[in-house]
Structures are given as C-alpha cells and as structure tokens.
C-alpha cells in the first residue's frame, strides 16, 4: 500500500508540475555581488561610525544617537538589500546608472559616492539613503515617459543625499519625540503634523536643489514639470485605454449587461489633502518650481543616453510590474496590465501568460469567496480599470472559471508551441472541473452562427419537431445551462478535447493527491535535503524606549544562521543555507536563485491551498533540479521582553486582595511568588516548509516558550523541527 501511495504521489506530482519550456523573463542580477549585499548590518554600522563618512555635523548628536542613527539606517537598508528584490548589473540598472553618469559627468567625486539600484516593487517610488544609495522602483520606471523624466527623479534623489536629509530627518524626529525647542509640549497629533511638515519641507528642498542640478544637464526643463503629472496619477495603470469586453469574453458567451458598469468615475484632478503626508501635494511642488521653470524655458532633449534603451527599459519595467502584480496576488491589476500590454505590445506570448495567470488567480479566489483580497473594490478606483474590476466583481464564480479556461486555450491557440501556456490551460480546466463539477459533455458547439455578437446568440431558427428535439434545442439547453456554448469556438478542437480529458483525469488524481497531501501533512517527509532561506529574527522589549532591538536581533539571526547547519548535521539532513550573508561576490547565480525563492515563498504563503500557478514556476522548477530538493524552509523568531516590575506589582495586589479576603496572610504568598517566578520574556518561533513541486506550504511548526531565547532553546527548536521532517 505504501509503495502504491508513493508511486501515485510521484505520478500526480509529475503531472501537476507547471514547468515548461518558457524562458524566464524575470529580471536577474549579473556580475559581481556588491559587498553591501553580503555584509551584516552591524559590520556596516561599525565601519560607518569609524569613518564618520556621512556624519559631517556629528557634534549635534550624542554618541549614542550617532550610533543609533547608523544602526537603524544600516538595518533598514539591509533588509531591502537582502530581500532579493534589489537588482544590480541587469539591463535596467545598467541603463539607469548610465543616466546617473550623464547627470554627474561633471561631478565625478559625487558619482563615486553614489550607488543606484532598481527595486522589484510595483509601487511608484524612489528614495535615497544617508549613505549614498538611491533606490528606484520598477513601478516608477514603468510610469515614466522619457529619459529626461528619469533624470529629474534622479536629480531629486541626489539632492536628498547631498542635503543630508536622512540625517536631518533623524535629528528632527528625536527633537519632535522628545518635545525639545519649538516642539515643546506638543500633542501626539501636533507631533505627527510637525514630522509631516518637516518631511514636506525636505521634499520641496530636494525639488529645488534637484531642479537646479537638472538645469545643468542637457535635458528638457519642461519634462521636470511633466514628472509631477506622472506622480499625481501614479495610482492609475501605466496607460488609460478603454477596456474591451471581448478581452475576456467571447461572442458565444458574452458578458451580461449587469456585469458592465454603465458609467465610469472620471479621473480626479483635485489636489489631495497632504496634511499628514510625507510629500507635499503636486500643485504645491509645481508652484514652487514654476518661477525657476519659467525663467529657464530653454530647449533641451528628452534623451541624452539612448531613446531605444529607454523604450526597452520602459517595456521591461511594464512587463516586470505585471509580473510583480501577479506574484503579489493583485490579479485584477495584473489583468488590466495584460490588457494594456496586448494593446501596446501586441502578439507577445507573455501577454497571454499574464492574462491566463491573472484569470486563474481571480477565478480561484472567487471560488474561495476571497476575491476582495486580490481585487480592489471598483468604487475605490477611477479611470478605465474601474470597468474591469467591476466585471470581475460581478461575474459569477462559474463564469470566471469558464472565461479563464476560454482565454487560456485561446492564448494557447495563438502560441501552440508554448508548453507553459498548455500547462496553464490544464490548470484552469482542473479548477473549473473541480470547483464546479462540470465535464466536457456540459458544453456544446452552437450550430447557428450568430449574425452579430451583440445579438442574442441563442436564437433558433428551426422549430423543434418532437419532444426530444425540443429538449435538445439550443434555447432549452441554454436556459438550463447558460454557459453551454461558451466553448463553441474550440469544443470540437482535438487539442481542447484532449486537454479537457487530461484535466478531468488530473482532477481525479488531484482529489486522491489532496488526501495523500493531508496524510503527508500529518506525518513526516522523510526529508533528505532542504534549502533554508535567511532566518528572520525580531527582538522587542517594552522595558525601554528602544523597543525594537536592532543589533541584538541581527546577532540572534546570525546565531540561528550558525546553528541551522549544525542541527541539520546532527539529524543527518543535507541543508543548503541560502542567504546573501554566506555568499561570495562571484555567487551571482546563487543570489538570483535566492531572490527567486524569496519571491516565490511570499507568493506561495499568500496563496495557501488555492490551485494557482506561481508566476515563478519555471525558475522554481530549474532551482529544484539544480539543488536536488523540492523543499524550502523558512524560520522566524520573535522574542518579547515584558516589564517585570508591572508583573510583580500586579501579583502583589492580587495576593493582597486574597490575603484580605481570607484573613490569612499566607494565602497571598503564592501570588507574589508567581509574580516573581514568572518569566518576563516570551519567545515564539515559526518553522515552515514549502513544497516547490506543489506550490504549497506543507508543514508549519509553531513554538512558544515562556523563556528568553537562550541558545539551548534555539537549538532545541531547530533540532526538533528538522528531526520531525526527517523522521520516517
């Protein structure tokens, strides 16, 4: 029986894999890994403190505050650098850096101080750190219209660095929090307002200084003003094109009127309230620059480095942004992006893949009644994308699944050799069959071709002759099953039939597999090898103002990093520790794998048990083969230190009440003893294992200790987790 189970499991897994011949289009790093990606934060802070490299006016801060600043900023930056989301030496980064070179061609020293990285994030944002790193998000690059706009953004960020806004912000925050100087006796609301005002002041300062630098370049000055429009409408997709219903529906099964929004909310041009915002509203920013802009209406170029490269960057950024939407389960946004991509860059297999992945995601979330998690409510939107969100919201779960299958197969018909699309198609079919209990016989080809897609496609011209003809008539069939002709276009296509049959079989296997998977969850994995990603460690205290203990957290994380391989060795498990902290500068391939795994983990964690393909599946398949395991582990620790004094006071009061109530003083003693003996630290640990084959989290071990995170506690946790995975 066990043998049989294993074979069945292996068989289904081999069928269920979504890997195909699709070539990865995700952006990847190249060349040597910069040292700042592989160095621990505390080392960086030590170096920075020793050099005093950016703390030019260090005397305005106490020694402790200087240290705090370096530690805090190093840690925050490091979290991003080691997240796997930051790109280096890829085509986009290279181009963006060349624009920075162009801006600073007359300031070589400053150029050497600065590092510029692109972040794989769909949010429209760029920011500069105090130690000279500028980060620019893919989301912003996807929205920019030309190189000059990019140059202005970079000039703005350079100004943040040269004007030391990061350090000033830190100093100001301390004064606001402590209520010093002008901030004396402020309420919490006033403090927030003060912080917001200071931040806005810095932004305006960066606009001004940045624009002055921008004017010295050869870029068109007016493009700086255009950037503000880009930022103002950053909440909209990268283009506004009227959504076409036939992007998801077809003439045999068109969208019903009730799913369509008759009137869209127009895009608002009003200024947003920036009272508590970190950035001033766009009108304020434009008004500030207007005098300088009017005085400098000279000619300039939109492109100094390369228009072709910019267009390539823009296209890549838009594709990457759509992929990021998919991996962050923003399926409705991804679907509208896929629509835009098809309009702007037609005939690309990636468009079909994005569309299919998004539709599968939406249909699965709809099946699980959790659509609100992946689709913004249409009334919260404005512009053309509102229509799509309304359609998605109003469609029934069955219709959504049907359209997912239809579009998946339509995409496959366009790119018949794309194996990945074929697998996506089967995936969509399995979901339709599993969640709605339909089979191939539930669909028929419509005999009568409708004259016009907008007219009723079910109009029957010949009167039925007898009872059975009446029952079999299209009108009757359609009344009982409105979707019956949805696949008219493909129902007689041998490939469609073959894939549907395969999906039906797989659904049966899936049911069997789910039972096995559940059984597997309850037992062990007989684990031989596992990839572990960088552990996550947070130490928090409410004993002091410090709160989050940054340095101690990192030290503890490094300890876990040491202990994990040790514990794996003790349990005879082959553990591959995947973290930038253990990588050499030449390990860029490994870094890319780490980056992919991290993104995949986040994506998979959110999907839970839904049958949705991962947007990283092809790369994950390659990683599985390369590292010889299908399991990825992730562990996180959290320790919370309470205030012991409060605990003792509480126990004493309770003991006192007890003693008074019973008139026996001794009865209060146990309460007091409990207050003293009760530990003041709680440690939590989560150890999760994910299966790359099935895209699911398969094991989670949760630990809670009423004790500080002593070494033996950590060791015990890790050993026990790995042991349980290893146990036969």
């Amino acid at each position: 029986m066990i043998k049989h189970t294993k074979y069945l499991l292996a068989f289904f897994i081999s069928l269920s894999t979504l890997a195909g011949a699709q070539v990865s289009t995700h952006l990847e790093c190249h060349g040597k890994i910069p040292a700042e990606f592989t160095t621990p934060s505390q080392e960086k802070a030590k170096i920075a403190i020793a050099n005093d490299s950016i703390l030019h006016d260090k005397f305005s801060l106490s020694r402790r505050q200087q240290r705090e600043f370096f530690v805090q900023s190093s840690y925050a930056i490091d979290r991003l650098l080691k997240s796997g989301k930051v790109l280096f030496n890829d085509s986009i980064s290279m181009y963006v850096n060349s624009v920075l070179d162009e801006i600073l061609k007359n300031d070589k020293n400053l150029r050497q101080e600065l590092r510029l990285y692109v972040v794989k994030s769909p949010y429209v944002n760029a920011f500069a750190t105090g130690n000279g790193i500028i980060f620019i998000n893919i989301g912003l690059l996807a929205q920019l219209e030309n190189e000059a706009q990019l140059a202005f953004i970079l000039c703005h960020e350079i100004a943040h660095y040269t004007n030391k806004h990061s350090l000033d912000g830190f100093k100001e925050q301390i004064e606001i929090e402590k209520g010093k100087g002008d901030y004396r006796a402020q309420s919490v609301e006033d403090k927030l307002l003060s912080q917001s005002n200071f931040s806005k002041m810095q932004e305006l300062d960066a606009d001004e200084t940045g624009f002055n630098r921008y004017l010295k370049t050869g870029y068109a000055p007016l493009e700086a003003d255009e950037v503000f429009f880009v930022l103002k409408f950053a909440h909209l997709p990268f283009d506004e094109i009227e959504f076409e219903n036939n992007f998801i529906a077809n003439k045999y099964y068109p969208l019903k009127d009730d799913v369509l929004l008759s009137e869209l909310t127009p895009v608002s041009f009003d200024d947003e309230d920036d009272k508590y915002s970190t950035h001033p509203n766009i009108s304020t920013r434009r008004m500030q620059l207007a005098p300088v802009l009017n005085a400098n209406k000279k000619d300039g170029k939109e492109y100094l480095v390369s228009e072709t490269q910019f267009k390539k960057l823009q296209k890549k950024a838009r594709y990457e942004m759509t992929s990021l939407f998919l991996s962050s389960q923003r399926y409705a946004s991804a679907l509208y992006n896929a629509f835009l991509l098809e309009k702007i860059y037609p005939g690309n297999a990636e468009n079909e893949i994005f569309k299919t992945e998004a539709m599968i995601g939406l249909s699965e979330y709809k099946n699980a009644y959790e659509l609100d998690e992946v689709c913004t409510y249409y009334q919260d939107l404005e512009g053309q994308s509102q229509q799509l969100n309304h359609i998605v919201l109003r469609l029934t779960s069955l219709d959504m699944n049907i359209y997912a299958v239809y579009n998946a197969f339509a995409g496959l018909k366009k790119f018949e050799n794309n194996k990945y699309l074929k697998k996506l198609c089967i995936n969509a079919m399995v979901n339709l069959i599993a969640d709605h209990n339909v089979n191939l016989f539930d669909f028929k080809k419509m005999v009568e071709t409708p004259v016009d897609s907008t007219e009723d496609a079910t109009e029957v011209k010949d009167e039925p002759k007898n009872k059975y003809d009446k029952l079999k008539s299209e009108a009757t069939l359609k009344e009982s099953k409105p979707y019956i002709f949805a696949f008219s276009e493909y129902i007689e296509d041998p490939l469609f039939v073959k894939l549907f049959q395969r999906a039906t079989k797989r659904n049966l296997k899936k049911t069997e597999y789910l039972k096995l998977a559940q059984k597997d969850r309850d037992t062990s994995l007989n684990l031989q090898k596992i990839i572990m990603t960088q552990p996550y460690y947070i130490k928090v205290t409410n004993k002091s103002e410090e709160g989050f203990l940054i340095e101690k957290s990192e030290q503890a994380m490094l300890q876990v990093l040491d202990l994990l391989p040790e514990m794996a060795e003790a349990t005879a498990v082959n553990l591959d520790m995947m973290t930038p902290l253990l990588m050499e500068s030449d390990d860029v391939e490994r870094f890319n794998d780490y980056s992919t795994i991290k993104e995949w983990l986040i994506e998979t964690a959110y999907k839970d048990t839904l049958n949705i393909p991962s947007s990283h599946q092809p790369e994950i398949e390659a990683i599985m083969e390369k590292y010889g395991t299908r399991y990825v582990g992730y562990t996180s620790f959290f320790t919370l230190k309470h205030r012991k004094a409060n605990q003792i006071i509480r126990s004493t009061i309770l003991g006192g009440v007890m003693a008074l109530a019973t008139q026996v003083p001794a009865t209060g003693v146990p309460f007091l003893l409990y207050g003293i003996a009760r530990p003041s630290t709680t440690t939590y640990c989560l150890f999760s294992v994910y299966d790359m084959e099935t895209n699911q989290k398969i094991k989670t071990f949760f630990y809670e200790y009423q004790m500080s995170d002593r070494k033996f506690v950590i060791k015990s946790t890790l050993f026990n987790s790995i042991f349980k995975l290893k146990k036969k």
């Binding site: 003893l673 630990y703 200790y705 002593r710 033996f712 506690v713 946790t717 050993f719």
Partner: protein
Amino acid sequence: MRGLFLLLTILATTCYSYTAQGQAPGYLGKKLFLNIDCDVAPNFSSLRSQMSLTRRLGLKPAIQLGYTVGTQTAITFRVSGTNYIYPLYNNYNTDNGSSPDLPYGEDLTNPDYRTFRKPLSANLYTSVMQYDFTVQFYDGSFIAPAGAYFELLMGLSVINTNFLDIDNKRLMIYSDLTNNKLLSPRIGMAHMRNMIVFDRLLLRYGYEFGFDFMGMWAFTAFSTNVASSFTNKNFLRYEGAMHNTAYTFFNFRVGIGIIN
C-alpha cells in the same frame, strides 16, 4: 520495597523499549538524564535538620534519574532523604527510666507543653527517605528535558523516628526496630525550569509541593483526641510523621545534572 523497585524497573524497561523504537527526540536526541538536587525547605514546623545551615531552612538532597518518553514528557525515579530533630520541651533525660511503651498523656496543668507520664528523653530524631515516581510534562513547546515543566510525584516516605538524647549525645534506638518505621504514601507536584549548557550539563531550579498522607492522618488523630489512646512510642512516631509533612510541604529545588 523490593516490589516497588521491581515495578519501577519493569516500567522503565518497558518505556525504554517502547520509546527507543518511537524515536522520541528529546533535547538534541538525548533522552536519559540524571540530576542531583538540593531541596531547600523553609521550616514551617520548628524542626531542625542536621543537614540544615540554619534552623529555619532545611535541606533535602535528592537524586533523580529520568528518561524522555515523548517530545514533551519524561518519567523519572527520584530518591531524596533528610533528617531532623524535634525538641520535646522537656528537661528530662533517659536516665530517669522512662519507657516508650507506657500510655501517652499530656500535662493538663501546663497546656503549652506535651509531657510524658514518665520523664523521657528530650528530642526526637526523625530520618526520612522518599522514593518517588514522577512524570514531567513540559510547558509550551519545550522539548524534554529542556525548559520549564510541571511534575507530578507519587511515592512513599519511609519515616524512621528515634529519641535523641542531647545531653548524653546518644541516639536511642528502640529495641523493636521495625515498629518505629512508618511508611507513608505521598503525592506532590513541582514546577521546574531546566537550563542546558554545553548541550550536556543541566542546571535547574523550581519549587515543589508535597503531601505525606501519614502526617496528615496523624494530625487528624491529634486534633480529634484519638491520640489519647497512643502509647508514648506511637505518639513519637506520629509526631515525627506529622512534622515531616510540614517539613516537606514546600521546597525550593536547585540542582545540576547531565543529559545523554
């Protein structure tokens, strides 16, 4: 006693053979542990132990052998022992020719002191050996034998009471040795914390509540005047048992050990 040891041996062997197959992990796979404890007892009964440093703080050394039978469960066998002296508030000594077999009575003219009808030795000397079978349940997510745990004890106290003639520095032993022993069933519970250093050494601390039933029964007998039918010998045995109960009612435990 022999029967008890036999029972424990069979139980331990069965558990070992069962869990060895079951792959109960224990801390880093280690399952066997041995502790040497020193129980520190606040003295609730004005007893004085020969092992105590002060009159108010009694000591009770113990040795405990344990085995993890599950991820968070361990069984142990624990032996502890102590002795103490209880003053009888009399200035008489054994040379006065008293006899333990005479009926027990109290001096009604002096209710603060219990006296014997015929003058007798000044102090009681009670030695106690406790044999406990315990089960440890580890708190939260701790893996035995590391971390905090709650322990249930069940066992026997062997209470041996004699006279101690302080003036003559002699321990008076009854001629009938078997009769001055009392076997008392006992139960208890403890809450402890085990810390592990260097993956082998075990440091621990905690507290224990224990109840010796014989002492409780004796207390009941004394308080309901049943004691009036006692002989001096009975009185002394039950007096010893009663004070033993008070003595071992609450202990702080500290100890060290090894795990393997």
